[in-house]
């Protein structure tokens, strides 16, 4: 399983536009960390609902988490104004464990 996190927008959007995503490869993790990640991914996928099509707030940020698992890719999106706690937990975990290529 490969999980990646991209951030968009915000006051520093110009900097974010060119930054590569933060990536975690479960194969490279210790077994317990890999199991933790799988649980968090499942929770975030379960909590995912399509955000209502609202106009963006100036300088607000949004996030995309991409999960590649068993030959399929799932994309999760969230904005600051609408983010499940599961998404936030996964976002922070990737940020803490991943690396920029």
């Amino acid at each position: 399983m490969i999980v990646s996190l991209s951030k968009h927008g915000g006051l520093a959007a110009g900097i974010r536009l060119r930054q590569p995503p933060v990536v975690v490869d479960a194969k490279a993790l210790p077994p317990q960390a890999a199991r933790d990640l799988a649980v968090m991914v499942d929770a975030a996928v379960k909590a995912d609902e399509p955000a209502p099509p609202t106009e963006p707030h100036p300088d607000s940020m949004s996030y995309t988490i991409t999960v590649e698992r068993d030959g399929t890719t799932v994309t999760l999106k969230a904005r600051n104004s609408a983010m499940s706690s599961s998404f936030r937990e996964l976002r922070d975990w990737i940020e803490g464990h991943g690396r920029r290529n």
Partner: protein, 406 residues
Amino acid sequence: MRCSCINCIVPPHILLRLAQSEKKEMRQIAMRTLLTTTRLRGQRSIRARLTLADVGAAQRTVYDCRNSTNLSEARIARTEDGQASSDASVNRVFDGLGATRDFYKEVFRRDSIDGRGMRLNGFVHYDRDYNNAFWDGSQMVFGDGDGVLFSDFTGSLDVIGHELAHGVTESSAGLVYHRQPGALNESISDVFGSLVKQWSLKQSAEDADWLIGADIFTPAIAGDALRSLKNPGGAYDNDDFGRDPQPDHMSRYEDLPDNEEGDFGGVHINSGIPNKAFYLVATDIGGYAWEAPGHIWYESLKASSPTTDFRGFAELTFMMADRLYGAGSREQQAVAAAWRDVGVRVPPVVVRMEIPQRARGGDGHAQREEDSLAALSRQVAALAEQVSALSREVNGAKSRRVSARN
């Protein structure tokens, strides 16, 4: 009465000469234009006096999110009449809201962000390691930064002014946050954010740094700031962030996708173009940028619509420079030159003037008198006298109101 319309843009000194022309039609055109200009200036000075009183008492409240992203859980940290906090971020936002509120009141006679005394709410310590500040449609939210790349986003007064200006735009032009109108929205926030800082430091256009967020990079990051109005594209260039991607000319406009990944068509990228135009106007006119340049931009913002693009805004600034300072004035010339220098063409603005045509052989005596320069001077003088009489009346009413209160 039948009217004939003519299109023209003429500087005042030429109008005065035209008023003495041998051609009757020329004399009439010049006289009517001079009268209209005098009337407009009078209206503006009276309006300014009328709205001076009772402006700018908007209440401030600063909340502490305690690293949550749920604003409804935030705790009140400082109120308008409360004591200073032991938290420096809280006090910086409180003071920044005050400076911005006072700037709009003193410079533009605007009562808070919406012009109607709207309460000013700021939220600090939003989320964890949050590298951002934003306007959520009714209030400002600030992150602490991750401490590695960015420090506290409350650190720069121009950033606080930037976020509040989004509120001003939302309650005036309502510029959509996509493509050119979105980039104009961003530019307006950079311009007025920078003006708040310049005004509070009493800096001239020459002395100002024209930077946005000069204090939010950590010392480890090489670079001046997030953006530079003076030098779009030159705010930073380092291994962590790459090079500042802002263009300073239409030939380098970035056509990005209109979605979150593309910054809604590069609203934070292409804002460099109108940013540079404002900087050029301000340094060309010289002195304090919140004076003539700020007023031209502010009036143009109020006259904009949700879909105004760069060219539409450029035309408005050109028209407002005429209305505020006169056709062919130094201010208007600076506006035209600045937009031309960033590759936005400003076509000559069409001024429609209606000239009543009298039936031939009408009142010959009255016609001759109206044609004469003496009659014109009398009309201008009478109008100026009406304006100053009205000013005296307004001042009298205001002082009566003040003494009635005491």
